[in-house]
């Protein structure tokens, strides 16, 4: 099957990843998959107020995902939406297994993700960026978290859906994955597929996450090596 934008079924869109893009932040990254662009910035570990939010034996990880008003075809109203609140939550859980939060008790680590351009796959682009930004901030991590969405159009399993594919797919399944520990840290799905499909799609996602992971490492290497 030829995909709408000419890609092969298991082909990712052109990817750009860059660490250290925001001077004011403790860590930051820019990630682009086709026409989806995400910027992530990390602030912290820093002292956390009000005090009752502090956790005695680890850092509090906070994630805020948001879309720039001009990122989509229809202007997005500024401010949090139900969708962005849910994505912020699952993003936190996607990143948390990777971070040694216990090294910074009582502090806060804030991860902000801004979607500058949106053409599907914004939450996974955001997770990829956030993961690089956390590493860029020098926060000790078990591993990087790589993420990608997979789907099924007709009888084909496809990866890294673009916006037009998202409208057609029988299911949309974003997955985040830590290659070193083989842990799936984000798993969501909307659709109507068989158990067999679901399993195959997850396996496909894992394979592509391993590719993305290499690009993430390159971005960090480039940053550190100059």
């Amino acid at each position: 099957m030829k995909r709408i934008d000419g890609r092969k079924e298991d082909e990712l869109r052109p990817i750009v990843m860059k660490a250290g893009v925001i001077e004011q932040a403790d860590g930051s990254a820019f990630v682009k998959f086709g026409n989806t662009s995400a910027i992530a910035a990390v602030y912290g570990p820093r002292s956390l107020h009000p005090k009752h939010l502090q956790i005695p034996d680890k850092a509090l990880l906070r994630t805020v995902y948001s879309m720039a008003p001009f990122s989509t075809t229809e202007r997005v109203k500024p401010g949090p939406s139900r969708r962005s609140i849910e994505i912020s939550k699952v993003t936190r859980y996607a990143l948390e297994p990777a971070v040694f939060l216990e090294e910074f008790p009582k502090t806060g680590i804030e991860v902000y993700i801004d979607i500058i351009e949106a053409d599907a796959g914004t939450r996974t682009a955001g997770i990829n960026a956030a993961s690089i930004a956390l590493a860029d901030a020098g926060i000790p991590m078990r591993d990087l978290v790589a993420a990608v969405a997979v789907g099924k159009i007709n009888n084909n399993y496809i990866v890294d859906l673009c916006g037009k594919e998202e409208e057609q797919t029988l299911c949309d399944m974003p997955v985040a994955y830590m290659p070193r520990t083989k842990q799936i840290t984000l798993l969501q799905m909307d659709g109507d597929i068989t158990l067999d499909d679901a399993t195959k799609l997850i396996k496909l996602a894992i394979k592509k996450c391993e590719e993305i992971y290499e690009i993430q490492k390159q971005a960090l290497k480039k940053r550190w090596m100059g």
Binding site: C171, L187, Q188, L195
Partner: protein
């Protein structure tokens, strides 16, 4: 680590749960239908002492421009401070929003409601279906209880008469076109034990949970991983199968 956590994890290592249930065992499920006089459909679901009411209200409105011949589904959840010392007044927090969205996706993606049958005049007037989920007592696993209450309420919903001008809420006859029965099953991981239907104490100690909504044909319609840990592929596969099995059992209630 809190004593209770250590205790439950030690139990889990022996394959035992705090309240004596087996890993694959739900607490007692009780379902009451049409308890709310003014709702078009309603249901109260108890799972153990977790208690949830779902009410369905209907109204006529404009369709979305991209789906001019389909009805509209809106799912909302309120975590009333009545239900738990931890719930607060105010707009829905991330947990309430996530719950509503997961319930919504289970119903929407399974095609449970035949949305085309809710069209009155294409591009102009369609039925809007509001599912409101109200938590009465929070004793763990709100999501499965909420999903079950929502589907049960839809199953017993009657559409009011509409004369083209006004909705007549006094006369409700036609049932809602419900064509599938999605069931949502949540499995948590405690230590190395997988437990369905985690109760409040188990939710405190679980590291990760996976919520899977399945249809009567065994298809998967919605998945939501939650919690600050990851899952191996084998674990996910195992939970998928468990979710289908438990879903079938619950569907028969």
């Amino acid at each position: 680590m809190k004593l209770q956590t250590q205790y439950l994890i030690r139990l889990a290592e022996k394959g035992v749960r705090g309240d004596g249930r087996k890993g694959e065992e739900y607490r007692k499920i009780e379902i009451e239908k049409n308890t709310i006089a003014k709702a078009e459909g309603s249901a109260k679901v108890k799972i153990g002492s977790t208690e949830v009411v779902a009410g369905v209200k209907m109204d006529v409105g404009e369709p979305f421009p991209d789906k001019p011949d389909e009805g509209i589904l809106i799912t909302n959840a309120e975590f009333s401070p009545i239900a738990s010392p931890e719930f607060e007044t105010g707009p829905p927090d991330e947990d309430a929003i996530e719950l509503a969205r997961v319930v919504d996706r289970g119903i929407r993606e399974s095609g449970a409601i035949d949305m085309k049958k809710l069209c009155i005049t294409p591009g102009e007037k369609v039925w809007m279906v509001f599912i409101d989920i109200h938590i009465l007592n929070h004793s763990g696993n709100l999501i499965d209880a909420a999903a079950l209450a929502a589907v049960t309420a839809l199953k017993h919903t009657k559409i009011p008469e509409y004369d083209g001008e006004k909705v007549d809420y006094e006369n409700k006859t036609k049932p809602l076109p419900l064509v599938h029965l999605p069931v949502t099953v949540t499995t948590a991981k405690i230590g190395n034990l997988y437990v369905v239907d985690p109760d409040l104490e188990e939710e405190d100690v679980m590291s990760v949970r996976l919520t899977v909504t399945t249809k009567e044909d065994g298809n998967v319609c919605a998945i939501q991983k939650s919690g600050p840990d990851g899952l191996l592929l084998e674990e996910v596969e195992k939970i998928f199968k468990l979710s289908i099995k438990k879903g079938n059992e619950i569907r028969k209630l």
